[in-house]
Subunit: 345 residues, 2 copies
DNA sequence: TTGTAGGCGTTATCAT
DNA sequence: ATGATAACGCCTACAA
């Protein structure tokens, strides 16, 4: 089915060429103390000339360490990953680990396959973003002696997340304080824990301000441009569209804004919109997006640090929750006095 | 420096538990013909219960095949990769290969490190996007007995690319036909081959229409939002800003549009803008972007097919160049009659 | 149908 | 300072 790789030069080849034993070559390449400087140099030079590249599979067999981190991502160009992956990679690199990414496409089965594939390759540990399995790893962990850290899945003991509920609350507070009362929420897939937390934040603020929670104002989305646009269509089709929308993430928000503008339901003139994530793009959209910033670089860095601890067998590890921060730009504005049914504050 | 992985259950453990020899277990797990159905089932059940996951490093040592493709990407959330990676993965998957991504951050040294890291892990082959090394792989290929396919680097024998020059020509033709004569180009890093090809297309069209090529109209960019915005600032600062801009890619185009709009230099009213790539986002920007579509899924699929051939040792492989296609949306419009200095077409 | 033995490329533990 | 030997987990002739 698959094909063989062309032969690489091995330590034995070098040994033969140098007229020494394989173990001497191994030691020379590792600059072991107790090898004559002369033969050491000679062998390293030879290795260089012969184009030797060590075989990690072979080495890891004996050292029982691949120095490899697997990272499950939703898909290669998910904009949310931009800073998060950098956080993971920088931390991993500084500790001598390489990290490899593989996509789950938000599919639970694919996610399991990827995890399995990392385990088969004996990765030292795995970080999962956008997990569909979530706390389900608690059961799987019996099967896989493989440390796993999740992001944005509080509830799983080894995870680092944004404070989603508090972030959502800031967003909705901002809208309420601007005088909005018909505030919609565009969700992610319902099952997602992150979605439930943000939805809870949304509901909490409405209740706190004695604004009735209208289920028609909670729209089904999926965190994509297209999903946002679809939700917007639904809102536009309703007899009484909202004057503000809080979206699960920035991509959905952009989808919403796009569809609203197309229908001449102007943002922010007719309707305010708030996103979540603060992608780099958010500041470049028109209008620039009001959104809730996730500390994604920091999430990545800390997830990797946590994974390192687990790999070292330490158990003094606990869930971390990082604060979110509202970034007010230009997709939100107060409800015009004329349009208010009640007094604003 | 790095830590050991917890022990996994091996074929020997199963053999001991089942009271058979390791080779019997190996055969049972592979459903070899010539193993009694009874012991086969018994062993497979046992393996399942004991949570056995085969060690690919160990297996690959003897089979000399890791069934692994390495893919070098610029960075995790590069939007251009969206469809390309899917093309690669689908093709790889159907042939039994797993693909892992690793980032180069457009840095030549990092790119080499990643390639080396894939080779150390004995990947079957590698696909590189956004290569900084490009045709330099011709020399490196002596050192690495590792098949390498590049994307968007015609000139390297094993590559699949978009017809960048023809794509650029379509874009600029479109602008010229709309009556524009002061047309700027926002570049990528100068060194990039792709950039040179698109620049050549730009120049060719201007010359063809006897429009003088003004070097002040070729702006230094880097294919990012920020780079696009910087280039826009420069244009705005000039005594005679262009009436149209062709950008190396969509992200740069969005950066340009954003900065123009901020300065009240409206797109497309005051200035037309064309991008390159046709990201999903392009259709969702405001205004929706006129751009040149790259067949990126197809690039990925074909790159993987080419790599497969190389892995199989076939040498009937040649560079492929795929057509680009102009997608006219709403960031371009004809120069208003009043503003023209010469007659339009 | 099953077991034995050798080897993949590397490192580590003994000797020498 | 260097060499021989065993072992990592797996596969595959070859024997039985």
């Amino acid at each position: 089915m698959t094909g063989k790789v062309r032969a690489s030069v091995s330590i034995k080849d070098i040994a033969r060429a140098a007229g020494v034993s394989p173990s001497t070559v191994s030691r020379a390449l590792h600059s072991h103390p107790g090898i004559s400087a002369e033969t050491g140099d000679r062998i390293r030079l030879l290795a260089e000339e012969m184009g030797y590249t060590p075989s990690l599979p072979a080495r890891s067999l004996v050292t029982r360490d691949t120095a490899t981190i697997g990272m499950v991502i939703t898909h290669a160009s998910d904009p949310f990953l931009a800073r998060l992956v950098v956080g993971v990679e920088e931390c991993a690199r500084s500790e001598g680990y390489a990290v490899f990414l593989s996509s789950s496409y938000r599919d639970a089965e694919r996610e399991q396959e990827v995890i399995r594939s990392f385990h088969e390759r004996r990765a030292s540990g795995v970080i999962v973003t956008g997990s569909q399995i979530g706390t389900g790893y608690l059961e799987l962990s019996q099967r896989f002696p493989l440390p796993i850290v999740l992001t944005n899945c509080s509830g799983y003991p080894y995870s680092v997340s944004t404070d989603n509920q508090a972030g959502a609350q800031q967003a909705v507070e901002h809208l309420v304080h601007s005088g909005h009362r018909r505030i919609a929420y565009v969700s992610n897939q319902r099952s997602s824990r992150t979605n439930r937390e943000r939805l809870a934040g949304y509901r909490a603020v409405l209740q706190e301000h004695a604004i009735p929670v209208d289920d028609d104002l909670v729209l089904e989305g999926d965190g994509t441009l297209e999903g946002g646009a679809r939700a917007a269509q639904q809102m536009l089709a309703s007899s009484q569209p909202p004057t503000a929308v809080f979206c699960f993430n920035d991509m959905a928000a952009i989808g919403v804004i796009h569809a609203f503008n197309r229908a001449d339901y102007r943002v922010p003139h007719c309707c305010s919109v708030v996103g979540f994530d603060d992608l780099e793009l958010a500041g470049y959209y028109c209008p620039p997006l009001t959104t809730v910033r996730q500390p994604s670089y920091e999430i990545g860095r800390r997830a990797m640090r946590m994974l390192l601890k687990l790999i070292q067998g330490r158990e003094d590890v606990q869930t971390e929750i990082l604060p979110a921060e509202l970034v007010v730009r230009e997709t939100t504005r107060p409800v015009p006095r004329s349009a208010r049914k009640e007094k604003g504050r």
